[in-house]
Symmetry: C2
């Protein structure tokens, strides 16, 4: 029995040969990747159940459809899914649901994505018991469909600028919702365009002319029978986007629209009939949803990247192009060092990000537990970290995906590869849920405080303790990775303290701190990235110790080595500028990268096989398990709607030019 | 009269304020950017003529259409254009035509793009007089529509692997065209999908069982009256792609399909009736078309980048978000150092690439002249350089465009910004016309030869003369940029010689050169990039001297400074690893970047105004000259086809869930 469990008769021979080279059991790596045997087993059970249900499949590849047809298709699958999913999965298990949605819907979204991801959880977390009783079950059953309406046309990440108002009218016991300007129009919420009957609206609560700040309201917007907008409401779709076009992102504006007082979500804050306001017991409770969404987001990104790697690495084993020595056979493009250099660091990042997501998710759970006991000590650390991770992971994942796409040459540009969808979905996350630059600067402000503490000799929390270390001593620990990790610390410390000192110097020349910070924000953003990369690197390196299977641990160790050396080389100027490392040291890092590439090469296909993604999930002709790429590209192309007869542009414009009749 | 000539009453006030800050006359910079007064005047004349012709416009933004509708729309405009263009433009002037096509068609292409760019020029350059007489006029008039069919499903940049055959049959005086395998199917040619009646086919010429290599053939593929494929031909569209979806890229396969002998293009090579073959007089003549296409491509990229910069910088002046100091007014996002750092290096690159394109275009013209006199001395230098420029410019331009897109936050993700189209069009060029990594390695082989010459003490041609210089002497020339340029030389020399020495060392251990080269191809690719950046930097810096207007020269100087320092900092590890620069030197470069950003800030909007792009060309709600972004985003959204009533997904799937009836 070969170690790679994905070999089948009749597969492309190059791919089979690759699989026979595996030095580890793919079942063991799959178990590590998916977080344990139980989880992997459950995932496979779910997949098998979906396989039995033809009504959950695409009849033709989505790329051949118009946007409206795509949305119709995902809605069909969604309805079928809602009717049957509880037969084969635990709908309260988030990981199950994410896996099902990815399998059935793909990465271009669906109209109820925000209903599932934001609307229902917000009701669960922010509605009081009576409200939950009234609304939650209908929401879970899809009898009411909602989204989360926060962002406005003129206002994104800076929530304090939101303009929409909910003014309490004591006389009728109602809130009057109003959109005072064009820029106050709610803009972007997914599903709002055509699909929602309700929204959770984030608006300024006004009582007796006093603004109590942003609060969530449960607001019906469309008639559930006719889907027409309710009176006083203007709502619609905002049009096509770079990607994720199966989501109908929408706009929403109100003209003095009235809802009952009890439509404010009142678990935390309350407004009583007489207009008296009760503040929430712990004002930072809302942060935890954000933390939860961000750790989800990192997991999604690692999955998009895993898909891109599976597609590109399999195709690179199938594709032969060019000769290393003229007159010899064309080689598998995976044999080129340049191709390995484009792909394998992305492969290593998949595991790094999966590890980071798991760590942050565990930290978030424990933080929420602490919070419920009134302890918010780690909240600031964790919030700052989640900002940095969001920014670094989305940026790097999208970059690695586009490299994977380009590494497939022309066919990577075709929608048949599915790589364009993976890229556009991934890169979208650089902007949503907190624009990346804003995220980095939020982390930077936390680092600024930490640097100040260090300067003052105050105690540092564990995540920033390295700031108190020294840069001139290279670790001599026995741990294989200790030296490399100390380089990460050196860079992070150097960048944070550099930005800090620049800022302090300006302050000493009379510039206010906020402006001094702004004047060095590029340096601060770089510092925030370095801090985040240190966190990822530490976690990834530590993960190795937890792997019991020797062969898998060997592979994992090589991936960690590649990851560490590659990321360090990307920041090499920070290692040599101050003489911390010599030219020979840097050359050593470079050589170690090339050695790692060579070591990974024979296992590359087996590593991506271990992501255990089936062809239906991958949606990619290039990434097929069987490697039969070319004949299936041909079949895929035949389905293009342009292959119909009597196309309008030919009939109306081209034929009249060319016709000899 | 203000210096910025784009101010109009009623514009967004922030944008007007920006324009009043201009320190230079926008007419003067526009003249420099467009290569002279005459060219600018001509361009404006053309634009005015297009403005008069409503049938050349889009009736609704293309983003709201399906792919088939988009193609119908561009075909309509194309037909109108072909009928009227000679009334107002010189159809033989390539720059005119490019400007017209960009204005009327946008960047997503049109079915006859390859007809214009490749098919007609190939006939002009490779058909003999009799063939030109027979075919060219019909091609120019669009009575025959063609494309260039070279790439095959299984074979891209490595032309030597192309499988399609054209076998001479003496008995009938015909060629028999055949597609021997699935992988030999022609794949990707633009316009082939649905629009072409003919192709120039690149196939192996076989006479009496001997393969004479690749030659071009003029091959009819569809009936000009019915548009049905001719017998023996299988042809169709290959489906949707990441971008450029108004081009119908296609596939094409032949089963023993016969064409007359005289359908081989015979300007250079010939086959006579008796099967005797005449080789071309100078075998490298075909290179010149490639050189021409690549210098065009660099120009297109600079234009895409200019459009992205115009959109993003104008929007950054209109958009206010966040406060630098809490409690103060929200600031224009262009005021953030991080935003400037994301955008202004891209702005500088626009001018750097325009300059590089002009230089290479002039070099190509002179090279073609030399070739016609039998002198091919500079061909190797120029060919290598064009490979590097193609790779570096397409990569950096697409990266800068995506940064510009992300710098617009959520709205940059909307097709209303036009930035997604600019990105997907730009990044496509990383792959077509020679995959970038292959391009870099072609340049690297040339650099390897140059390094060998240097090692042997032989003379070096001007473009690589720097390899013979020394790295330990920082230039002390008086020229403002001399020192910075010497840093570029240092990096390029260091990277080339490092890759070379690594390779030689392996050779000395018995590894064959081809394999030793392959084992260090990542280092070679880095060397090729550094060589290319040196060329761009030298040309850009030299351009300053040619500008007569003081105020424009000042602006230009700052852009060059930013460009040089930014690109150097991107490669800073190569400046410090060997102690060539000290930490203080590098810090000085960094500070110079931030100073340049500050200097550019007040002129930023006026600089992009000087690209003289009208709103119709920009196709971007965010980039509107008048800055009225929000109300027009709202208008744009109303046109989304999802804002129709009775959408299928709502009627079939959502209403049945939500309805209370």
């Amino acid at each position: 029995m070969p170690l790679n469990k994905y070999i089948q008769d009749g597969d492309n021979q190059d791919l089979t040969n690759e699989r026979f080279k595996a030095t580890f059991d793919t079942e063991h790596l799959a178990t590590v990747y998916h977080g344990g045997e139980e989880k992997l087993k459950k995932l496979r059970h779910i997949r098998n159940e979906i396989t039995k249900r033809g009504h959950l499949f695409d009849s033709i590849p989505s790329a051949h459809r118009t946007r409206a047809e795509k949305i119709e298709d995902v809605s069909r699958k969604l309805k079928n899914l809602m009717e049957t999913v509880s037969d084969f999965a635990d709908v309260t298990d988030n990981l199950d649901m994410v896996a099902i949605i990815r399998d059935v819907m793909g990465v271009d979204g669906f109209p109820l994505a925000l209903h599932t991801l934001m609307f229902v959880p917000t009701l669960q977390n922010q509605a009081d018991d009576e409200q939950i009783e009234e609304w939650l079950m209908e929401a879970i059953q899809g009898k009411i469909i909602g989204t989360y309406a926060q962002t406005e046309l003129g206002h994104g990440t800076n929530l304090s600028a939101i303009e929409t108002t909910a003014t309490f009218d004591k006389s009728t016991d109602e809130f009057v919702i109003h959109t005072p300007t064009t820029t106050a129009t709610k803009w972007w919420p997914g599903g709002l365009g055509t699909s929602c009957t309700h929204v959770v609206l984030v608006a300024n609560l006004i009582i007796d002319l006093k603004n109590y700040g942003l609060h969530p309201f449960f607001v019906p917007i469309r008639d559930r029978n006719t889907y027409l907008p309710l009176s006083g409401i203007s709502v619609g779709d905002i049009g096509s986007k770079m990607g994720v076009n199966c989501v109908d992102n929408g706009f929403l504006a109100f003209v003095n629209y009235r809802i009952p007082r009890r439509n404010m979500l009142m678990k935390h804050s309350k407004v009583s009939k007489d207009g008296s306001y009760t503040a929430p017991p712990h004002p930072k409770a809302a942060y935890t949803t954000m933390l939860y969404v961000r750790s989800e987001l990192i997991l999604h990104q690692s999955c998009y990247l895993a898909m891109a790697m599976a597609i590109s690495i399999r195709y690179s084993a199938v594709r032969r192009q060019g000769e290393i020595k003229a007159g010899t056979q064309e080689v598998q493009i995976l044999d080129y060092q340049t191709q390995q250099y484009r792909l394998f660091p992305g492969l290593a990042r998949v595991f790094a990000y999966v590890t980071a997501a798991a760590t942050v998710s565990a930290m978030t759970e424990s933080c929420i537990k602490d919070l419920s006991h009134g302890n918010s000590d780690v909240l600031a650390d964790l919030h700052a970290l989640s900002c940095g991770l969001k920014a670094v992971v989305t940026h790097q994942a999208s970059q690695s995906i586009d490299q994977a796409r380009q590494a497939c040459g022309g066919h990577g540009y075709s929608d048949a590869s599915y790589l364009p969808s993976l890229y556009t979905s991934s890169v979208g996350a650089c902007t949503y849920e907190g624009e990346n630059m804003v995220m980095l600067l939020q982390l930077a402000r936390y680092l600024m405080k930490a640097a100040t503490k260090k300067d003052e000799g105050a105690a540092l929390t564990p995540l920033v303790a390295y700031l108190g270390g020294k840069s001139d001593q290279i670790s001599t620990g026995n741990d294989k990775f200790a030296k490399l990790l100390s380089h990460f610390e050196h860079i992070a410390r150097r960048r944070v303290m550099h930005a800090y000192r620049q800022m302090i110097e300006e302050e000493q020349h009379g510039v206010e701190r906020d402006y001094a910070f702004a004047n060095h924000s590029v340096d601060w953003a770089k510092a925030a990235r370095a801090h985040t990369k240190l966190f990822i690197a530490n976690g990834f390196a530590a993960r190795v110790q937890t792997i019991s299977d020797d062969a898998v641990r060997d592979v994992f160790t090589t991936l960690v080595e590649l990851y560490l050396c590659y990321e360090l080389m990307e920041m090499a100027a920070d290692l040599t500028a101050d003489g911390y490392l010599s030219e020979a040291d840097v050359q050593q890092l470079r050589v170690q990268i090339y050695e790692s590439l060579k070591k990974i090469r024979p296992n590359a296909v087996s590593i991506v096989d271990s992501f255990d993604l089936c062809d239906r999930e991958l949606r990619s002709v290039l990434g097929r398990r069987d490697g039969h790429v070319y004949e299936n590209l041909y079949k895929w192309a035949q389905l293009s709607p342009l292959n119909q007869k009597n196309l309008p542009h030919v009939e109306k414009y081209l034929k009249p030019m060319t016709s000899k009749l």
